[in-house]
């Protein structure tokens, strides 16, 4: 039971941290892509959308090679630690958050951009306002990012090593139990994972409330 709580706690802790980091980086980035015109913007948008399909196992492998003692970042001694897992999941969640924020931000900018700039705000100052207008879409973006991080197994098993009591998450436990032929246990843990995803999503929507949802309708 203690093992179980540890595993669930680590899964949620690592995924929430990664999602928070990804949101902190990608929300301004996504909005900036919607607001600032620059050469190569379309290319940047295409790349970010392409990275939506980034295979976790590739991210895991590249990060593994980088963090390995014989790799360029080996001196950090991060391989097989929860921190390495957070980094991997942040990389996976960033394009999702950025792409969804950019999509919503583009619509809001088309609708309100002129007014915002007319009010004397620079484009940089308009970014927080755009994020405020699309706040309901931000919730969707962040939940999508969280969904990506909490459910993936390919990257965390490579850089985390599935070490009992240190880097074993729900998904890597399911993989391990399946490999031990403990199919009912694996399935039960899978149900817990789905249940946790549902409760987190429900909690967020309960806090966000229907009133805030109106925000994005305006933007449309």
């Amino acid at each position: 039971m203690r093992d179980f709580l540890e595993i669930v706690g680590l899964s949620i802790g690592v995924s929430l941290t990664a999602t928070a980091l990804a949101a902190a980086i990608s929300m301004p980035t996504g909005a900036a892509l919607a607001v600032f015109p620059f050469r190569g913007r379309r290319l940047a948008v295409v790349l970010i959308n392409a990275f939506l399909g980034l295979p976790p196992v590739v991210v895991g492998l590249v990060l593994y090679l980088a963090l390995s003692r014989s790799g360029p970042l080996g001196f950090l001694a991060l391989l097989y630690t929860p921190t390495a897992m957070v980094i991997a999941q942040t990389i996976l969640a960033m394009p999702i958050v950025a792409a969804l924020v950019h999509r919503a931000g583009e619509r809001a900018w088309a609708r309100y951009g002129d007014e915002l700039v007319c009010d004397g705000a620079s484009r940089l100052q308009a970014i927080p306002q755009i994020l405020h207008i699309i706040r309901a879409d931000l919730i969707t973006a962040i939940l999508a990012g969280f969904g990506r991080t909490v459910s993936e197994v390919g990257a965390v098993i490579l850089v985390g090593g599935n070490i009992r009591g240190l880097t074993r998450t729900m998904t890597t436990t399911i993989a391990l139990q399946t490999s031990q032929g403990e199919l009912p246990l694996a399935l039960a843990l899978g149900a817990v994972l789905v249940g946790i995803s549902i409760s987190i999503s429900a909690t967020v929507f309960a806090f966000a409330g229907p009133a805030r949802m109106a925000g994005s309708d305006e933007a449309r």
């Binding site: 680590l10 802790g13 690592v14 929430l16 941290t17 928070a20 980091l21 949101a23 902190a24 390995s68 003692r69 014989s70 790799g71 080996g74 001694a77 391989l79 097989y80 630690t81 929860p82 921190t83 957070v86 090593g161 599935n162 070490i163 009992r164 240190l166 391990l176 399946t178 490999s179 031990q180 032929g181 403990e182 199919l183």
Partner: protein, 274 residues
Amino acid sequence: MKFRLILVLIGIVIGNCRASAAEQAIVLASTTSVEASGLLEHILPPFTAKTGIKVNVVAQGTGKALDTARRGDADLLLVHDPEAEQQFMDEGHGASRRQIAWNDFIIVGPAADPAHVRGGSDSVAAMKAIASTRAPFVSRGDNSGTNAAELRLWKIAGQTPETLSGEKWYRSIGGGMGQALNIASAMAAYTLSDRGTWLSFNNKGALVIAVEHDPRLINRYDVIELNAQKHAGAKRAFAKVFADWLVSSEGQQAIGAYQVNGQKLFNPSADAPK
């Protein structure tokens, strides 16, 4: 409010990492069989309680485990492929290599036994029969110790990886022992398994032991300490404590005491290597 939440979460994770870094901890790269069989889960808690050294187990196939150590990402090795280990030592990566236990491999297969090998103790004859009847055979295909042992048997039986890769009945899955057993069970195929994983495996379905007690099927587990010259970063002092404990009478007793369903999975052999 959201920002504060984020800070708290980051704090929690960093706190977690600190806590684990402050401990004396080593990374043990091991084979899947010693973890999947439950052996390490059984012997590590008493060791950690006694010495305060935490052993973080990364369970991989032997080939991958040796490679992890070559890259400098492990402090100690627990593996079971004599030839690959010898090469590792020849390359100068290892400082010492000691046998800690042995058990044996078995050939398992469907109860229907399409290749008519059940009950025998000649693994090579069985492999020949499987090949000539073209009965499905699942290979680990992951460069692990068990995979290497399997390929050695095939070689004696007159097959090479090249001839096997062209055969439809030979299915290389590139996965761990448990995965191989899951797949063999699902497609009614034969496979080579270590006895420890087999005994603790819980999804046998219609699989039964087909061939056992062949002297060629012995499976040796060695602990390898790393060479100081090549692996300066490794926590060799802590690793040595654990390696020495494994071969000590206390460690050997702990290994020998591990049972699943009343059956001993590993035979301690530090004093008399097989």
